[in-house]
Amino acid sequence: MKENRRTFLTWLAGSTGALCFRAKADDLSAVGDFQGYPDRVGMLVDLSACVGCRRCEAACKQVNGLPPVSVPLGDKSVFDQVRRTDENNWTVVNRFIPGPGATAVYAKKQCMHCNEPACAAVCPVKAFVKTELGPVVYHPELCMGCRYCMAACPFGIPAFEYHSANPKVTKCVFCNDRIKQGLLPGCTAACPTNAITFGKRSDLIRQAQQKILQKPGEYQDHIYGVAEAGGTSWMYISKVPFDELGFSMDLGNKAMATYSYGFLSMVSAVFMVWPAFLGGFYLFSKSREQQATEPTGPDANKQGDAR
């Protein structure tokens, strides 16, 4: 009996220890329906105002210390192919021609600064962080270079310095340092047509709604970024349907991070249930073995113990 109690207590202590360890390691606050920081900033891009001058590209490169544009600003050949962001181009302007003979529409692409970013959620070292102000910022001193952020980003934005021995993952950081000093982000300050508006995200949504209402039938009745992938800080309005302008329309309205919450919340349960489950199997097979060894053993109490 003593043996039995001691075994039980050992198991109990072990399970409790495991439980405490898990409870500490799990950041339970990560599980929840996050609505986003209330006063965060955002951007509103009116695609109908963009003329494809690419001054935002040049300004972005200048304020972030990136090499200057490889194709001169006036050269329209740059639009022959749809470009994505890379380590030297944190924002790119692409040209779309919606249907034969239609007027070209230019769409600026950069990090969308999601409300609940996939890159930040999947980073095992929190190298990407969503700040309360709004920007999703990067900490190269933490980054391992695993590129899970790039794999996870629904907008295909982060880029990796494949040709550096000490590489970084790069993307638009919303000119975080500039807006903290009260300056406009580089691209916004450079835009000659006011296609990009900087402001509080909630204000920008109202502004976008007003624009759509004031010119009935002109704008698409959709503000891209209010709900996509759980909502983003950058938002777009357009007179041409978004799916003709290279925007992903199949992202859904849930933050990508939420898709793995179910799995993550199971982790603690496995740590608790498995020892009991597997320990049970072990005790069962042990008792079966002992019964096979001494089927009519004189020490009946011993068999009782084994069960």
Partner: protein, 437 residues
């Protein structure tokens, strides 16, 4: 105890016996000139400079990965493929120690070694692939990204690597003739086994769960909320297949390193493992269709991706299951071994498909370059050489001479029977298997 067992660790006689296989250094070096080693040396000598240049100039030198396809063969093969193929340790340890199927005891050590070496080299692949490999310990010591499934994988791979090392320690201490340490190491077997199963359940499925955050990027035929379950279940039958292959290869190519008794028993054990693989494989096959039905993705079956999906599910899952079943029912071991090889191919194909092919399926894909393939071949070759080095020296497929006498008792002791040694039960279990099914 024979003479070898009494040589103190690192004494000259011990080194000659246990490092140079009882040969003089000259003899030993001459014995290394074999065709196999020649080919291995060519691969490695070609691959090491590639790896060196990679660290000097950046990952781009040895990969065709890009900003759109950030994960290439190093993760597709080395991590996502390597880890399920290394599930051997937790499967055999739980089979023998927790579920009490003692007849498989002789396969626990090779299975744990296969697992340990496999995980170790999964980390090696990671070190090649990470942009800043020197930041690898950061998730453990510096910054805890607890909302990341990869954070879980990192911790679990580190913990499980340590656990498997502990599980393999008895063999190491026998080789070192360190009897006291060996007895300590043996005592933690049950605890280590349970811990190992917990960790394996979670990180095998977590490798699949890593893709859960990419519903819009992974092709619908492979993206499913079932993906953690699919990865876990397939890791079981891939591990069983790896044990079948490993033991077959050792018996074929290193026969002197497998005890005669184990050689005799192997065909019977292989059939038993084949039965398990058939059952878990068919479960996986059914789950694949359940997942497809759950997502109602039937329409994609008519596309090019659908053709690959059907090939994967019928050619690389159902076919080996049928071969396993025929082999088991008709006691044809060759069928089971062919099925095991096909299963391993199928697992690698599945993991590479999810990480590379079905990933970002709307964009044009690029094939891995020759340097990427060569580096993978280099690491796999080193892995095989390390495995062979250990099997040639440590008692893996055999009892150490010093402990052979306590063979039966040890089996009972390892299983944690602290009462009288269950001699009868163990001897009975050691008898050849009844015809399965």
């Amino acid at each position: 105890m024979n003479q070898t067992a009494t040589n103190p660790f690192l004494s000259q006689a011990w080194i000659r016996e246990n490092i140079f296989l009882g040969k003089s250094i000259g003899e030993y070096i001459r014995s290394l000139f074999t065709p196999f080693n020649f080919v291995a040396a060519l691969i490695i000598l070609g691959g090491l400079p590639l790896i060196a240049i990679r660290y000097a100039t950046g990952l781009g030198f040895v990969t065709n990965s890009s900003n759109d396809f950030p994960w290439g063969l190093y993760l597709g093969w080395g991590l996502f493929g390597g880890v399920p193929l290394s599930s051997t340790g937790f499967i055999m340890a739980s089979t023998v120690y927790l579920f009490g199927m003692k007849q498989y005891h002789s396969l626990v050590r090779p299975a744990v070694l296969t697992g340990f070496v496999g995980y170790f080299f999964a980390v090696v692949f990671l070190l090649v692939d990470l942009g800043k490999p020197w930041h690898l310990p950061y998730p453990m010591i510096l910054s805890f990204g607890t909302s990341s499934v990869l954070f879980l994988v990192a911790w679990h791979v580190a913990l499980y690597l340590s656990t498997q090392f502990v599980e393999f320690c008895p063999a190491i201490f026998e080789w070192m003739n360190a009897d006291t340490f060996r007895r300590w190491a043996v005592r933690v077997t049950i605890g280590a086994t349970i811990f190992g199963v917990i960790l394996s359940t979670l990180h095998q499925s977590a490798l699949g769960a890593m893709f859960l955050v990419m519903p819009a990027k992974v092709h619908p035929l492979w993206y499913t909320p079932y993906i953690p379950l699919l990865f876990f279940v397939s890791s079981i039958y891939s591990g069983l297949s790896m044990i079948i292959l490993e033991s077959t290869l050792i018996r074929r190519f290193l026969p002197s390193r497998m005890a005669e008794e184990n050689k005799r028993k192997l065909d019977g054990l292989t059939l038993g493992l084949g039965k398990g693989a058939a059952l878990t494989g068919l479960t996986y096959f059914a789950l694949k269709w359940t997942a497809l039905a759950h997502g109602n993705d039937w329409g994609y079956l008519g596309t090019g991706y659908g053709a690959w999906f059907l090939f994967e599910v019928f050619g690389l899952v159902l076919t080996p299951c049928i071969l396993f079943t025929i082999g088991v029912r008709q006691a044809k071991v060759t069928f089971v071994r062919v099925a095991a090889a096909l299963t391993v191919v199928g697992i690698l194909a599945n993991r590479i498909t999810v990480a590379l092919v079905a990933y970002n399926w709307r964009l044009p894909h690029e094939f891995p370059g020759w340097k990427e393939i060569w580096v993978v071949a280099t690491i796999v070759t080193i892995e095989i050489l390390v495995y062979r080095w250990v099997v040639n020296r440590l008692p893996v497929h055999m009892e150490h001479p010093a402990y052979a006498s306590e063979h039966v008792a040890a089996a009972g002791h390892l299983a944690g029977s602290f009462g009288p040694a269950p001699v009868a039960a163990t001897v009975e279990a050691m008898a050849p298997l009844n015809p399965p099914l």
